[in-house]
């Protein structure tokens, strides 16, 4: 990065710090003890109000639609919209935007599905994992846009995804190994019956815990990450308005980190579910 750009970035950060300090100094001085945790969680938790701009009255969503539900629909619309608009059959000379969309699929194919599942089985599973990766990464990144929220920061969404993975683990296991062999596969060979059954139960339990940890990981990362961006800003309320000079650069840094984390967590979720499904549907020792 050249010096001029760095200087510009620095200027932007300083100016925004000044703005934030100016905006909040009045509010902070008027209210004696701000409800810090309330303010924080209001921005992360599900709600049915859409606040598009500061100081503009917020929109109350119709009954039954909450922000997180809206985000789910929005992500579906975004992905299907872009993909169906920019991917055309028989497009041998691709444009940049086509390559952008295709590269995500190629990333999932070459870095997640094919190395783990092999080409033959991977080709069948690829649409599912690509959908999962795109869905999760778009949901993760949507939360970084102001006024929008992170649906993956809600444990219900991540649990729903994990349940899908869990069901598919069982289905793939029954299909790949057969109903009896699937449970036999969990049973370690050459051990006494009592211990074997105990280990089998543990293995069975671990299938559930692995999926639940999958959901918890995504949820906690997104929730805590987006909270971290905000908590730096909230320090302005708590300490002094001029703390903005420190907290705004920090929150900008966390924000850029969060872009990385959002993509990484979508990658990890897809990778792990791919591994779980593969592990459950191949015989032991392969």
């Amino acid at each position: 990065m050249n010096l001029k750009r760095l200087y510009l970035l620095f200027l932007i950060v300083i100016l925004s710090s000044l703005t934030v300090s100016a905006v909040f100094s009045e509010e902070a001085s008027t209210s004696e003890s701000p409800d810090v945790s309330g303010t924080l969680f209001e921005h992360v938790l599900d709600g049915n109000t859409l606040e598009l701009f500061p100081f503009v009255p917020e929109i109350t969503l119709p009954h039954g639609i909450t922000m997180h539900r809206l985000m789910l629909v929005l992500s579906v619309l975004l992905i299907t919209g872009f993909y169906s608009a920019w991917i055309k059959r028989g497009d041998l000379k691709p444009k940049t935007r086509t390559i952008l969309l295709e590269s995500l699929v190629i990333f999932v194919r070459d870095d997640i599905v094919y190395p783990i599942m092999g080409e033959e089985r991977g080709a069948k599973w690829l649409p599912f994992f690509t959908t999962m990766f795109l869905f999760l990464s778009v949901l993760n990144l949507l939360g970084l846009i102001p006024a929008l929220k992170t649906a993956t920061g809600n444990i219900n969404v991540t649990t729903a995804m994990a349940i899908v993975v869990l069901l598919l683990t069982f289905i793939a296991g029954f299909k790949g190994l057969g109903f009896v062999h699937f449970f036999k596969n969990l049973f370690p060979e050459g051990t006494p019956l009592g211990i074997g059954i105990f280990v089998m139960l543990l293995e069975l339990l671990s299938l559930f815990t692995k999926s639940m940890v999958l959901s918890l990981r995504l949820f906690a990362n997104m929730f805590a990450g987006h909270l971290a961006i905000l908590s730096f800003l909230v320090l302005i309320f708590v300490i002094t308005p001029f703390f903005g000079f420190i907290s705004v650069p920090f929150s900008v840094f966390t924000y850029t980190l969060e872009v990385l984390v959002g993509l990484l967590q979508a990658f990890v979720f897809t990778l792990l579910s791919c591994i779980f499904i593969m592990m459950a549907s191949t015989p032991e020792g392969e």
Binding site: D111, P115, V213, L214, R217, A220, L271, L272
Partner: protein, 75 residues
């Protein structure tokens, strides 16, 4: 100091200890993975996948701690 405040403090300390353990684990994984990649750059992809898998498993345990602490703090 009332009891709930005490519980919260202990929960936060517990979360900190849990996260410390997780970070030690992830640090060891990262160091070993970098060692392995430095020794065999051709196996980079496999090593990275396994590194992320292991780190994710450890991270899950750390999250358990953090979430239990969160439950205690906010209940």
């Amino acid at each position: 100091m009332d009891l709930s405040m005490m519980a919260r403090a202990i929960a936060v300390i517990g979360a900190g200890i849990g996260i410390a353990g997780g970070s030690i684990g992830i640090g060891i994984i990262g160091a070993k993975a970098l060692d392995a990649i430095a020794r065999q750059p051709s196996e980079k992809k496999d090593i990275r996948t396994n590194m992320i898998l292991m780190a994710a498993l450890i991270e899950g345990l750390a999250f358990f701690g953090a979430i239990i602490a969160l439950l205690v703090v906010f209940k």
